[in-house]
Symmetry: C2
Subunit: 112 residues, 2 copies
DNA sequence: CAAACACTTAAGCACATACTTGACTATCCA
DNA sequence: TGGATAGTCAAGTATGTGCTTAAGTGTTTG
């Protein structure tokens, strides 16, 4: 299938859980099976599957089943969307601060 | 007060809601009062206060009350932490892909 | 001083999340 | 073929989230 026009809601939601971030962290070092993702997590396999579903719903991760193993991988372009949203708000704020700084400096200049 | 050593959990959690992102978006254009944040949102003031509390718990926003108005502002350094977490996973994945590409290219070179 | 303003608190409710266990289904391998 | 492997489905439960309304508390302002 491999569709996906993911929402920021689901993307950030997916990243808001330590188990899911641990899975992403593992996947950032390369593809992995479900049980590989599960190994370091102190919870049942079904629980891990549910986390995986949340990551897929957020578009952060894609997976494909071959034989009896499901292999998971990161979707970096979606990760990048979340990154960009944050970056845009942050830099807008910081540009505003800079302009304010310039304004205050100019005003100071004027009065001296 | 102004303490804060925020967790990724609470940061991403805070960003995972459209009302809260709308508040951040508004704040990225400069400080605002609670009712200013509430104006475009179709919900009661108490609901907005609860969203604000989530944003503060995540460290994304700080606020201070002067007289009867509470003024809110973005904490860009915290926003930057979330950004960095994503960026690190994404670039790690992409570096891996690059190395893999190099490897395949070299292998191809060898066999021709 | 009284009314309007800008929150703030508390309580309650519907729905969503993060698990669990138990049972089941396909591969794969000896 | 039969057992181990890797994953999946279905329920059930406890806790968390996102609202609401109703009733406050301080702060201006006419």
């Amino acid at each position: 299938m491999l569709n996906q026009q993911p929402s920021l809601d689901l993307m950030f939601q997916a990243l808001a859980d330590p188990a899911r971030r641990s899975m992403v962290e593992r996947l950032s070092r390369g593809p992995a099976s479900v049980s590989e993702l599960a190994r370091p997590l102190d919870m049942s396999l079904p629980a891990v599957m549910q986390h995986l579903a949340v990551l897929e719903a957020g578009g952060i991760v894609a997976s494909e089943k071959v034989g009896r193993v499901r292999t998971c991988a990161i979707r970096p372009e979606v990760l990048s969307l979340a990154e960009q949203w944050i970056n845009q708000r942050r830099t807008q704020w910081e540009r505003r601060l800079d302009r304010l700084g310039d304004f205050l400096a100019a005003e100071d200049e004027e009065t001296t």
